[in-house]
Symmetry: D2
C-alpha cells in the first residue's frame, strides 16, 4: 500500500513524479475565511526551488503554483484546495542508465522490490521533487496559522554540513537568508561554501543537520498518546527524503544528561510561568508547553554521485554505477524550507484538533 496523505484534520495528499507533467497536493480541512492566493504561496516555493545557486541541482524549474480549487474571491471556503506545479525541465534521457540498475543508498531497489514496476526517470515518486508539494501545503498552513495564532513564527536553518557545525555563539537569525545554505552563522557559511565546492568537484556529496524552531506556539497542542506533537513531528520529518534521524529539544543528547541537569525549572514571570531552560524542546508528555518547539533532523548525503559505486542491476549483473543527471551535492540545503513546511502543517493540524475547523456556526442570516 501507499499512503500519500498526512495529517488528522488538516490533511495533505501529495501526488506526482519527478518527470511527469506536473505534481501537486490536495489540502483538505483548511479553515474557511483565510486569505489565500498564489502570490501568498509562491514565495515559500521560491525558497525551495532548484537552480538558484551552484550548490543545488541545475535543473531549472519555476515551481509556479496554481490554485485550482478551494479559494473563492481571495479566501478559503473550507473545501479542498488543489495546488498544482508543472514540471518543465525534465531531461529523462539522463536516466536511461538507471532504468534497470539500482543506485546504492537510493530508493530505486526498494521500489523495484515492492512494486515490481517503477518510473525510474529522475527517481519517479521517490524524488525530492515531491517536496515542492509539501512546501506549497506549508504555505497554506502558514496563512491559516497567521490568521489563527498571531505572532507564531517558524524558522528553519542548517546547523551542520558534514562534520562542520555552526557555533551557537555566532547564531544570527538575520543571516539565515543571506547565504545559499540558510546558515545562521556567517563564518560557517563561508567555510561550507568552500567545502561543498570541493566535494562537488570531486564528485561527492554530503549530509546535513537542519533545525526548525517554532515560537509563539500555544500550549496544549498534541494528542497523546499516539498523536503526540513530537511523535507527529518525528513522522513528518522522517518522511522527508533522505532523513535518517529526528530530535526534539536535547534529542539524542538527552541520554547523556542526568535528571538534575535535564529539569527545565520554572519560576513565575510577569506573564505567567517562565522556564529557565528548554531541554524539552517545548514538548512534555507529547503536548506543547508554550516554550519554543525545537525539532532537528539529519539528512544523509545524496546517493546520486558521479563517483562509481558497486551496484547490481535488475537482471542480477554486478556493475560499477556512476549516476549522471543533475543532483544536489548537499540535498540538506533544500530540506530547510521543507522542514519548515512540515512544522507548519503539524502545528495547524493540532491546533484544529483542539479548536475545531470552524469554531462553531460561521454564517449568519439576517
Amino acid at each position: 500500500m501507499s499512503l500519500n496523505t498526512f495529517g488528522h484534520l488538516f490533511r495533505v495528499t501529495t501526488w506526482g513524479e519527478s518527470h511527469g507533467p506536473a505534481l501537486g497536493c490536495t489540502v483538505d480541512g483548511c479553515p474557511p475565511g483565510v486569505e489565500l492566493s498564489e502570490a501568498l504561496i509562491q514565495p515559500w516555493l521560491d525558497r525551495r526551488k532548484p537552480g538558484t545557486s551552484k550548490f543545488t541541482t541545475q535543473r531549472r524549474e519555476a515551481d509556479e503554483v496554481k490554485i485550482l480549487s478551494g479559494v473563492f474571491e481571495g479566501v478559503t471556503t473550507g473545501t479542498p484546495i488543489q495546488l498544482m506545479i508543472g514540471n518543465t525541465d525534465q531531461r529523462s534521457k539522463d536516466y536511461g542508465d538507471i532504468a534497470r540498475a539500482f543506485r546504492p543508498g537510493h530508493a530505486d531497489i526498494a521500489y523495484h522490490l515492492k512494486y515490481g514496476v517503477r518510473d525510474y526517470r529522475g527517481g519517479g515518486r521517490s524524488s525530492a521533487r515531491e517536496t515542492a508539494a509539501r512546501v506549497a501545503a506549508g504555505g497554506v498552513a502558514r496563512a491559516a496559522l497567521a490568521a489563527l495564532v498571531p505572532g507564531l513564527t517558524i524558522t528553519g536553518y542548517m546547523m551542520q554540513m558534514g562534520a562542520r557545525a555552526i557555533e551557537r555563539a555566532r547564531f544570527d537569525a538575520s543571516q539565515i537568508g543571506e547565504n545559499p545554505f540558510w546558515c545562521p552563522d556567517p563564518v560557517m557559511a563561508a567555510e561550507w561554501a568552500e567545502y561543498l565546492d570541493e566535494l562537488r568537484l570531486s564528485h561527492n556529496s554530503v549530509g546535513a543537520v537542519i533545525e526548525v524552531v517554532a515560537e509563539g506556539v500555544p500550549p496544549g497542542l498534541g494528542a497523546p498518546l499516539y498523536g503526540k506533537l513530537d511523535s507527529d513531528l518525528a513522522a513528518a520529518m522522517m518522511s522527508i527524503n533522505a532523513v535518517k534521524g529526528v530530535e526534539i529539544g536535547e534529542g539524542m543528547a538527552s541520554a547523556a544528561l542526568t535528571g538534575v541537569e535535564n529539569a527545565d525549572e520554572m519560576r513565575m514571570g510577569p506573564s505567567g510561568v517562565e522556564y529557565l531552560s528548554n531541554h524539552a524542546g517545548g514538548v512534555l508528555g507529547g503536548i506543547s508547553t508554550g516554550q519554543p518547539v525545537v525539532c532537528r533532523f539529519a539528512v544523509k548525503p545524496t546517493s546520486s554521485i558521479l563517483t562509481p559505486r558497486r551496484a547490481v542491476s535488475a537482471s542480477g549483473e554486478e556493475i560499477d554505477l556512476v549516476t549522471k543527471g543533475r543532483h544536489d551535492p548537499c540535498v540538506g540545503i533544500r530540506a530547510v524550507p521543507v522542514g519548515e513546511a512540515m512544522m507548519a502543517c503539524v502545528l495547524l493540524d493540532h491546533l484544529l484538533m483542539d479548536r475545531g475547523q470552524t469554531g462553531g456556526v460561521r454564517g449568519r442570516i439576517g
Copy 2:
C-alpha cells in the same frame, strides 16, 4: 483531542491510568488462525514489569495479562483482542504533593494546560505504566509474525547510559538477558551497575539509548510517502514516554558522511543481492530492503527525582519540588521491551498492508 490508537491495519488502542483499577488495550486487525494464549504473551510482560531489580521502580506489579476477547479454542478469530492488566500496587497517597504542582520536565503541566483536569496519581495517563499495554500488544504481533514470517527476529538492548556507551567490539547478544540492563556488553553492564547505584543514592537519574534490530524482515514493507516504514517507526518510538530522538541506521551521524562513504554497495551472493554495509538501517525510500532494520532512540532521564528543583504550582506559587514515590532511576532500562514491542507492531502492520489480513477466502465448505 486524544488519539489512543496506533497502526493502519493492525491497530492497537490503549487505555488506562497508573492508579486506576486496570489498564489494557484492544488489538484490532490481527489475522485469524494465529495461536495465542495468555501464556504466550506473559513472558514479554515479565521482561518489562517493575520491581525486578534495584535499578527499577520498587512498585510491585505482577502485570498479569487477561485475554477477554478475540481468541477461541487457542487461536485468534480475526476479531478484536482485548488484553487487560490489573493495577494492584498503587500508593496514591505518595502523590498528594504533586496534585497541584508541576514537576520540571514532566507531563504534569502540559496535561494541566491542555485538559484543565488530570489524574495526578502516579502520572495518570502519562505514566510509563501505559507501556505495559504496548508490550502486551507486541506479544500478539510477535505471535502473528512468527506464523507469517518464520525466521524474523526482533532484538532490543541498551547501548548507552548517560555518557557511557557500549563498545561494538564487545557486542555479545547472548549477554543481553544476563544483566538488569539488557546490555550486550558485559564490561559496560558492570560499569553501569556501579554508576546507577551512585546516581540513585545521590537522588538523581539518567538517560539512555536503546537500539532495536529486526532481522529477517521481508523487503517491500513501507507505505510511501506518509506511511514510510521509517516514518512509522519514528512516530512509534517517539510516542514512548521520555523519548526525545529517533534514528534509523546511521541516524544523526549520517549528516557527517559523504555520499561515497554512505553508499551501501551491492554484490550478488548465493541467495541474491548482498549489501556490503548497512548505513541505511534496512530502509530506503521508506521501504524495507531485506537488510536488518536498525532503529535507535534516546530516553531522557526520569524527571521525578528526590533532588529539589525549582517549580511552580497550579495556583502560581514558586516552590522547590522534591518528587517522592517509587521511580526508575533510568527509565530507559524498561524501555527496551517497549521498543521491541513497537517494532513488532509496526512490522506486522506493514506486512498486513502488503499482504492483507486474510490473504483471501479462508473458510471452505464441503
Copy 3:
C-alpha cells in the same frame, strides 16, 4: 481486516463476543471536564438489556457497566474511557448444533468464509450483544452533548413491526416508554403485542422500522463530502446488526416526489429562519440545517428461529436447521436504544470536528 472503531474525533472501539467473559468499548476523544459516572450510563443500558419482557430474548444479563479509565473525581479527563460489561448468563451448550452449521440469513457462513474460524457460541462477535457496548458509548456521548449543547434531545421509537405501521396522527411521545416496543402509538402497541405473541408461538420472527429524531442540533454539523452528516449516520445505522436500509428525512419516498413538493420552503420567524416542512430530515448537502435530524432504519427479522429451514454444514451436508437458544422474536425492539446511541455518537463526533476537543487552552496557572 476487521475495523472495530467508528468515529473521527470521538472514536469508539468495541470488543467482545456473546459468550466471552465480558465485552466493552474504549471511548476516545471525549472532551475533558464532563461529569460522568457509572450511574449516568447505566440507565441507557437498562433500556437495551435483554429479558425485560416476553418479547425479547430470555437471556438474563444485568448489563452492569464498569468505568475502568478516563474519569477522575467524577469528571472526564480527556483520556480514553474504558467501559466493561460482564457476560453472566451464557448457555454455550445451546449452540453445539450450529458449531458447524450455518443458519440461513445469519452471519455464520460469512464469518466462516472470511476467517476460517469463528466463535460460534451465541453468534460470537456477530451477536447483537455487541450493541451493549454501543449503548454504553452513547451514554458517554449523551453526557458530553448535554454539557456542550443544552437542549439537544434524541428520541428513538419503533414505527413499524412487520407490515403494521403506526399512525402519525396518533403519535404521542409520552407513550414511548409505556410499552415494551418503544411505540409512540398506543393503539398500535396493543396490536403489536398480540401479533408478536402469535409469531413467537408459531416459531417465527419479524422485522421492524425504527426512527430516531434529534432536536436542537446546531446547524453546520457535517464534513462534506465523505464525512457528510447523513453519510456518517447511514454508515452508523447500517453497521447495527440486521439493519438493511437507512433513510434520512423522506428517505426512499423522496424518489416519488417532485421538486415543487420536496422544497422545504423558508420564512423568517422571530428567532431566524423557519422551515415550512422537513422533507430533508434536517440535513442539506451533508450538513445539519438546524431542523430536527430524522433518521430511519429497517431491521430484518431475527434469522434464528425454531421453524426448520434448509441449510448446509461446513462439511457440505444439506440439513434442515432449527435454531434453539434464546432469541428475540423482533430484534428491532432492542435496536431502538442502539439507534439512539449511534445518533448521539455521530452528532458529538461532528460537533467536536467543528469546535475541537478542548476549544483551546483549558488549564490556568496562577
Copy 4:
C-alpha cells in the same frame, strides 16, 4: 472540518468546484501493474457527462480526463494517480441571483451556515459536477478489479422515476444502454420519457431510485463491525448528491418480512453452496457471501427549479425564488454511473484489505 477522502486502503480524494478551472481526484493505493490509460477511463465518464439528451442539464462538458501521475508505460506504479477534468462551459453569470439567496432543499444554506463563505457559482463544491471525479476513480477501480477478479461485473440502472417503477418481469439488461434513463424495462423507459418531458416543461423535477448489482464478488469482503461491506456501501451511496435512502437486498421492505420468509435457504450445488433466494443482497454480518451484492438508493428531485418557491436571503429577506441556470430535471439519471463507480471503489477497497496491495514482494532481481 471537511473530509474529502473515502476508502481505507484504496483511497480517493476529490477536489474541485462546479465553476473553477478544473476538478479531479487523487486515487491512492491502487495496486501496481494494472493496465491503465485515459482511454480506459474515458468511456465511464462519457456515460455520466451532461448534455447528452434533453433529459439532462444542457451544460456542455467534454469531461475529458487527464492522468497526471501514477501511471508509467501504460501500467499503474502503485503511487498516487492524479486525474484531472477541466471545466469548460461554466456560465457563472446565471448564478448572480443566488449569491445571497438560499434555494429550498439545496445545500446553499447549510454551506453558508457552516463556513460563512461559499462559492455559489453552480453550487460550488456541493454541485453534482463533483461526481465526475468519482466516476473517473471508479474507472481506475474497475481496471484493478478486472485484473484481480476476472468475471466480476457491476451493473447500475434506474428502476423508479417519481411513482413509476419498472416491472421486474420485463427486466432486460440489454436495454439498459438503449435509452436515456439506463432503464432495463423498455415499456417504462417510454413512459418516463413522456412524463419527464411534461415535468420539464412545467418547470418541475422528480426523484428516482437506482439499483446497482455486483456479480462475481468473492465471499469474505467486509471489515466488521464498523467497516462492514454494507455499512461502507451505505456511506458511499449516501454521500452522493441528493441521495436520501440506501438499501441492501430487501432494504426497508425487510421490516415487513417474517424470519421464515426472509431466510435465504441453502443447498449444495455443483460448485458449492447455492442460495435459493437473495433477500440479504449478498451481505451477511457485513461480509459478502458470494451472492450478487444488491444496493439501491433514492435520489430526491433536483431542488433547482423554475417554479417559484418561498425562500430567504442571507440578509434575512423573504423572497420568492426561481432558479435559472441549466439543471437536470431528474438528477437520478446521471447518478447511475456514479453509483456504479462507488460500488467499484468499495469492492476494490475491501478486496485490498483482505489480500493486500501487492500480495507480497513484486520485483525480482536476477
